[in-house]
C-alpha cells in the first residue's frame, strides 16, 4: 500500500522531516513528573491544546484521570505576554483543586516568545494578602529541544532545585536515607523500588512517585488530586540524604537532580543503569547493600536464583534470536542488557532520544557480544524501517513501546510491548521491568512470544514445546 515506506532501495540518508516519531515533546515528561508529587497539579504555560493532547496521550497509557491545567494562550496573550493568564490560571487551579503545589512547565510557544517565568512567578507570590498559596515550581521545557525524556529529567531536577533546603530532614531518618531518581518507569516499577528499599531497611525518597497517583484504586468519591506521590517534606529534605541513586546510563551529565545535589550539597551521586536483567540488577542490589549496610534479603537472592534457573530452562529458545529494540534510551539500554545476557542478538537498538550517551551505553552493556549491536539515536520509525531493509537485519521480534506496532506489523514479527507509551494494550503502568522479578516476567514473556510464533507458524500444532 502506498502508506508503507517505499524507499528501501534508494534510501535517503538524511531525511529532513520526522516520519512517525519515536518521541514526544518535553512538556509531557515534565507534566508526568508533577503528577508524582503529593498534592500537586501540573500546569502548562501555553496553548490549551498542548495540555489536552498530553492528557490524552498519558490517559491512553495509564488509563487514569490526568488533569493538567493550562494558561490557555490566546492571540492577545501571545502578543502582550501571558502574565495575566498565568495568574488567573494559578488562581483558578488553587480555588478548584486546593493543591499543595503547582508544577508549571513551559511550552514551545512560551519559550519562543520569551516569557519571564521567574519574574512573573515572583510577582505572583508577592501579591498582597495570599498567605496559603500552593508552592509553585517551574521548569523550562522548550518543546523544540530534546524529547519527553529530557522534559522529565529536567523537571526532576527543577523540582529538587527549587524545593531543596539544607538541614530540613525529619530527625527520624536524617543522615540515613537515600534519594532515588528512577527516571520514566512504570507505576509498578516504582512500587517495586519502594518495596526493595523497605526490605533493605533503607529509608528512601523516591522521586517522582506516581505509583499510586497514576495507578490508584477505584473511588467512591472523586478525588480532585489522587492520593500518593513524593511528599513535599521529603522533597525539601533531599540535601540531607546520605546519597542519591539515579537510574539511567544515558542521563545527561551535570543536568540531573543527583548531580545538582552533589555539587550544591555534597550528596554523593551514584549512577546505575536501569536495573533490567541480571547484570544491571546486580549493580543495583550491590549499591543498596553498600548504602544500607545490609545483605540482600533472601527474598531477592531467591528471585535471582529462580531467574538464572529460568534462563537455563529457556536458553535454547532465545539463542541467536534477532531483536529490534526501540524506545526511550535508558529503557532500550536496560532491555538490551537483559536480552543480550539471555543469548538474544540485539540487531538494532534505536531511540528518538539523543542524549549523546546512547551508543556508549549500549556498548557498555553488551561487551560480551561477538557482533556489536547497531545503534541509532534520534531516529524515527520510518528511518528504522529503512535501516532494517538496507542492512537486511531481519529481526525475529521487536521490543519497545506500542508506537512500534505499525513497524512490527509491516515486518510480520511480534511486538513485545514494554516501556512507554503503551496505547494499544491494557496495563502498561503495571508492567514490572525492574529487578530480578521484573526480568523473570520479561523473560517468560519473550520466550512465550517466540514459542507462540513457532507453534502458530507451522501446520503441526505441537502440544509440547
Amino acid at each position: 500500500m502506498s502508506s508503507q515506506p517505499r524507499p528501501s532501495k534508494s534510501p535517503r540518508p538524511n531525511w529532513v522531516s520526522t516520519r512517525n516519531p519515536c518521541k514526544a515533546c518535553a512538556p509531557l515528561g515534565a507534566a508526568l513528573v508533577m503528577r508524582g508529587i503529593e498534592g500537586a497539579l501540573p500546569f502548562l504555560h501555553g496553548s490549551q491544546g498542548c495540555a489536552t493532547y498530553m492528557r490524552r496521550y498519558l490517559i491512553s497509557h495509564f488509563r487514569e484521570p490526568m488533569d493538567i491545567a493550562t494558561s490557555g494562550f490566546s492571540e492577545a496573550t501571545t502578543i502582550f505576554g501571558g502574565e495575566k493568564n498565568l495568574c488567573q490560571g494559578l488562581d483558578n487551579v488553587t480555588s478548584q483543586y486546593h493543591p499543595a503545589l503547582i508544577g508549571i512547565a513551559t511550552t514551545c510557544l512560551t519559550e519562543t516568545i520569551g516569557e519571564d517565568m521567574h519574574g512573573m512567578l515572583h510577582q505572583y507570590r508577592a501579591r498582597p494578602g495570599e498567605a496559603d498559596d500552593p508552592l509553585l515550581v517551574h521548569v523550562s521545557t522548550p518543546a523544540y529541544s530534546g524529547t519527553h525524556i529530557d522534559g522529565f529529567n529536567d523537571a526532576v531536577r527543577a523540582v529538587v532545585e527549587q524545593l531543596a533546603e539544607a538541614g530540613h530532614a525529619p530527625s527520624a531518618y536524617l543522615e540515613n536515607f537515600v534519594n532515588v531518581f528512577p527516571g520514566l518507569v512504570s507505576s509498578e516499577d516504582l512500587r517495586f523500588l519502594k518495596e526493595v528499599c523497605a526490605d533493605f531497611a533503607l529509608p528512601a525518597t523516591l522521586f517522582p512517585d506516581y505509583s499510586e497517583t497514576l495507578d490508584g484504586p477505584s473511588m467512591e468519591i472523586y478525588k480532585k488530586i489522587p492520593e500518593g506521590g513524593t511528599s513535599l517534606a521529603a522533597l525539601r529534605a533531599t540535601p540531607s540524604a546520605k546519597a542519591s541513586i539515579e537510574l539511567g546510563r544515558t542521563l545527561r551529565q551535570k543536568r540531573t537532580a543527583a548531580s545538582f545535589l552533589q555539587e550544591r550539597f555534597s550528596v554523593p551521586a551514584k549512577r546505575i543503569g536501569l536495573p533490567i536483567g541480571i547484570n544491571e540488577s546486580d549493580s543495583f542490589f550491590a549499591a543498596l547493600e553498600k548504602l544500607s549496610g545490609h545483605k540482600t534479603p533472601e527474598k531477592y537472592t531467591r528471585e535471582r536464583g529462580r531467574l538464572v534457573d529460568a534462563y537455563v530452562d529457556g536458553h535454547k529458545y532465545l539463542f541467536g534470536k534477532r531483536a529490534l529494540i526501540i524506545g526511550d534510551e535508558d529503557m532500550v539500554v536496560g532491555l538490551t542488557s537483559f536480552l543480550a545476557e539471555t543469548g538474544v542478538l540485539p540487531v538494532l537498538c534505536a531511540s528518538g532520544g539523543k542524549s549523546g550517551a546512547f551508543a556508549r551505553s549500549i556498548a557498555e552493556v553488551t561487551t560480551h557480544l561477538r557482533e556489536p549491536a547497531m545503534v541509532r539515536e534520534g531516529v524515527d520509525f520510518m528511518t528504522i524501517a529503512e535501516e532494517l531493509a538496507l542492512k537486511d537485519l531481519k529481526p525475529d521480534f521487536v521490543i519497545g513501546s506500542s508506537k512500534a506496532a505499525k513497524l512490527a506489523r509491516t515486518l510480520g514479527v511480534p511486538l513485545i510491548r514494554l516501556g512507554f507509551p503503551i496505547h494499544d494494550r491494557i496495563g502498561g503502568q503495571r508492567i514490572l521491568h525492574l529487578g530480578y522479578r521484573g526480568a523473570q516476567q520479561l523473560f517468560d514473556l519473550v520466550v512465550n512470544t517466540l514459542l507462540e510464533v513457532k507453534q502458530d507458524s507451522n501446520s503441526i500444532g505441537y502440544s509440547y514445546l
Binding site: 517505499r6 516519531p21 514526544a24 484521570p65 480555588s95 522548550p142 467512591e220
Partner: protein, 454 residues
C-alpha cells in the same frame, strides 16, 4: 457539588432552574479551568485528516505531530497516507533562524517519496511567532511539484477548535472547483462532516446508493483529493457535524449556488429523517418510495434486536459530554429510544441555539454544561448517580474511576455508531458497559461507607 469557578457559573444550567435560561458559551476557556477542549490545530486536523491520499505535514516542534499520529479511527478504502505522521520537528536552531528552509525541504522529499494528490501544511503554535511565511513556501512547492499544497493556519492559540474547523474549510475551499464536474448526475450530493470513523461513511454511502443518489464526494471520510476537487458539481450538500462543516456549506452555497441541509446519522429517528430530507429535496417520487422501502427494511431488522437492549436499559441514567452539541441532540434521542434518560449533557463548542435546543429536548432537572472540566463532570456523575457516561478518551477515566459505565463516541472510536447498524452497535456498547458485573465490586456501587471528602 462541584466548586464551579466563578467565571463559569453561567456556563452550567439545570433545567427547571428558576432563572430564565441563558447559558454562556462560545467563550475562551478560563485559564486554569482544565477544559476538555483541544485547540485550533486539533479542529483543522480532525476535519482534514481523513483525506487519505493527501500528505499531512505538521510544521512545528514534534509534540503536535506525535500526539495526533493515527489517533483517529478514520478508515480508508485505498491509500492510507493519512495514517502516517510527518513533522518538520523544529529544533532550537530553526526557532532562531526560521523554519522555512526545513519546511521546503521536508515537503519536497515527502512529496517525492509518497506522490500525494495534495499536501496540507499545518502551522502550529510557534510558526507565526518565528516569522515563517508558510504561504510562500506552499506556493513554491506547489508550482514545483504540480500538486496543490495548502497551508492550514492552525496555530493553537489563535482561537478555539472552531477556528480550526474554519481554517480547514478554507483549505478545502481552495480545492473544490479545481476538478471537472462532468458526468455528475442531477441527483447528486456531497456528504459533509462524516469522517468514516469505523467505516461509517461506507454505511451511509450505501444508503444513498440504494436511494439512487450519487455521492460525488465525502468531505472528508474516506476522502480523496480528486473527488473533493469536483465537489462543486453536486446538486446538494448534506451536512452532518454542522459545527465543523457549516462554514464550508455556506461558502459553497455562496460560490456555486449549491443548497445544503443539515442532518444527523445517529439514532433511528435522526437517521431516517436525514434520508427522507434528502429524498424530499430531490422531489422525486420514485426516490422517496425507494427510501421508504429501505428505511422500513432496515427498521424491521433493527427493531426486534433493539427491543432486547431496551428491556435491560430502561430507566438507566446517562450523561453526555461531547465535542459538538449537534451530536448531543441525536444522543439524547437515541438514549431515549433505549428507554434511558439523559441527566447531564454538555459540549465543548455548542452555541446559544444548540443549548436552547438541548434544553427543549431534555427532561426537568437535567444539567446542561458548556466547556466543562473533570471536576465538574465528576461531580455531575456523582450527583446524578449516572449509569453510563458517553464521551471521549479524556472523559473515560473520570467515569471508570467512579465505577461508572462508559461509551466512546468520539473520533477515536472503533465501533461504527452511525446509521441503523450503528444504532445497534451503540445499544450494544451501552449495554455491555452498563450491564457488566464489575460495577458490583466497585466501592461506589457496593455502597460502602462514604468517605469524608475534602
Amino acid at each position: 457539588m462541584a466548586d464551579i469557578l466563578r467565571e463559569r457559573e453561567r456556563q452550567v444550567y439545570r433545567k427547571g432552574d428558576l432563572q430564565p435560561f441563558q447559558l454562556d458559551c462560545e467563550k475562551q476557556s478560563a485559564a486554569g479551568s482544565v477544559s476538555q477542549r483541544a485547540c485550533v490545530f486539533c479542529g483543522s486536523r480532525v476535519v482534514l485528516y481523513p483525506i487519505a491520499d493527501a500528505l499531512h505535514i505538521v510544521h512545528g516542534p514534534i509534540g503536535c505531530a506525535s500526539y495526533t499520529w493515527d489517533i483517529r479511527g478514520a478508515l480508508s478504502s485505498g491509500p492510507e497516507l493519512h495514517r502516517l505522521s510527518f513533522s518538520t520537528d523544529l529544533q532550537e536552531m530553526d526557532v532562531v533562524q526560521g523554519g522555512e528552509k526545513k519546511l521546503y525541504a521536508g515537503l519536497c522529499e515527502l512529496i517525492d517519496a509518497h506522490q500525494p494528490k495534495a499536501a496540507f501544511v499545518y502551522a502550529t503554535c510557534i510558526v507565526g511567532v518565528i516569522g515563517d511565511d508558510v504561504e510562500a513556501v506552499c506556493k513554491r512547492v506547489s508550482l514545483e511539484k504540480g500538486i496543490p499544497v495548502l497551508p492550514v493556519h492552525s496555530e493553537g492559540f489563535k482561537g478555539t477548535k472552531k477556528d480550526g474547523y474554519r481554517a480547514a474549510c478554507d483549505a478545502l475551499l481552495k480545492l473544490v472547483g479545481t476538478g471537472s464536474p462532468e458526468g455528475i448526475t442531477p441527483h447528486s450530493i456531497n456528504i459533509l462532516g462524516d469522517f468514516n470513523l469505523a467505516g461509517e461513511t461506507w454505511m451511509i454511502r450505501d444508503y444513498y446508493k440504494r436511494m439512487g443518489v450519487e455521492v460525488v464526494s465525502c468531505i472528508t471520510g474516506d476522502g480523496r483529493v480528486d473527488e473533493i476537487r469536483r465537489a462543486h458539481g453536486a446538486a446538494l450538500n448534506v451536512v452532518q457535524c454542522s459545527g465543523s462543516m457549516t462554514h464550508l456549506a455556506k461558502q459553497l452555497e455562496e460560490k456555486y449556488g449549491t443548497p445544503f441541509i443539515r442532518v444527523s446519522y445517529f439514532g433511528v429517528e435522526d437517521m431516517s429523517k436525514s434520508l427522507y430530507d434528502v429524498a424530499r429535496h430531490f422531489k422525486d417520487k420514485e426516490m422517496m418510495k425507494r427510501t421508504q422501502a429501505m428505511v422500513r427494511e432496515e427498521l424491521e431488522r433493527l427493531m426486534p434486536q433493539l427491543a432486547d437492549y431496551k428491556r435491560a436499559l430502561t430507566g438507566k441514567r446517562a450523561a453526555i459530554y461531547v465535542g459538538g452539541a449537534f451530536k448531543a441532540f441525536s444522543l439524547v434521542a437515541a438514549l431515549r429510544h433505549l428507554g434511558m434518560t439523559t441527566v447531564m449533557v454538555g459540549s465543548q463548542t455548542g452555541n446559544k441555539d444548540d443549548y436552547e435546543q438541548l434544553r427543549e429536548l431534555c427532561d426537568e432537572g437535567t444539567i446542561i454544561a458548556d466547556d466543562s472540566n473533570p471536576l465538574e463532570l465528576s461531580s455531575f456523575l456523582e450527583e446524578k448517580d449516572v449509569d453510563v457516561f458517553i464521551g471521549g478518551v479524556k472523559e473515560r477515566p473520570i467515569a471508570y474511576k467512579l465505577g461508572i459505565g462508559f461509551c466512546d463516541h468520539n473520533h477515536e472510536r472503533k465501533e461504527a455508531l452511525a446509521g441503523f447498524e450503528g444504532m445497534l452497535n451503540f445499544a450494544r456498547e451501552v449495554y455491555s458497559s452498563v450491564m457488566s458485573p464489575v460495577w458490583r465490586l466497585t466501592p461506589r456501587r457496593r455502597g460502602s461507607n462514604l468517605e469524608v471528602v475534602k
